[in-house]
Symmetry: C2
């Protein structure tokens, strides 16, 4: 489970690095947003080729890390929340920069996003562990 | 702190109810997405009139619930992650429905999103409490 947990944190950090901090992610995310709101054949290719395999892989890591079945509804939804908390910093970039007083979201700002989203993941994993070992739901 | 925590959970549930489940949210979210990617004067009004006041209010609730300063960078970023995990279920709706095998996201599906996002919030709050009372970082 420790190795799988480490892989989850690494995946989160990579996702922030690409989605939030890399300049080229802007164009790609805009393209995917257009496809999500008005699906064409391109969305089928993105979904089947990239999205679903990546999501399944994260769900498998989740099972290895927590013992919760990879394809359970709860696991699939939890993985969406982990992705969502990161993606928002790209989609809501303009609002985030205004509220944070950041002139840009570069490497330094991305590191702060990694710290907060990793902290959330750590808490969510710790709650699972607590519920399992102590037989209580925190 | 308990009252503020209850208000945070209530705010999360309201946000899911509106953003994820209500049919009219689709148009509104599309409009805001367009503004966020190509800001016009409308974004200034939405940001100043709705977005920033709501975000500040959630940050104040966070301070009351956890003791962490409302306007600290960590609190502002944490509140963004709480919003982001919910908003994604609207923005990524098409991908979510495919992956979940849901024909639609209505009240029943929204209740499952509430369960998972509330579980995350509970875990994140519990980690704060654990760190404070036991002097350890979980």
């Amino acid at each position: 489970p420790e190795a799988a947990q480490a892989q989850l944190f690494a995946a989160l950090e990579r996702m922030v690095g690409f989605v939030v901090a890399s300049p080229q992610a802007g164009e790609i995310v805009q393209f995917i947003l257009r496809e999500l709101s008005h699906p064409t054949a391109a969305l089928d290719r993105i979904y089947d080729g990239v999205f679903e395999p990546s999501h399944r892989r994260l769900c498998q890591l989740w099972e290895q890390a927590t013992g919760e079945p990879a394809e359970s509804e709860a696991t699939r939804l939890t993985v969406f929340t982990l992705i969502g908390q990161v993606i928002y910093f790209r989609i809501g970039r303009e609002a985030v920069m205004r509220r944070m007083g950041w002139p840009d979201i570069g490497a330094a700002e991305a590191a702060k996003v990694v710290a907060v989203t990793s902290g959330n993941l750590k808490a969510i994993l710790a709650a699972r562990k607590g519920a399992k070992t102590k037989g209580q739901r925190p």
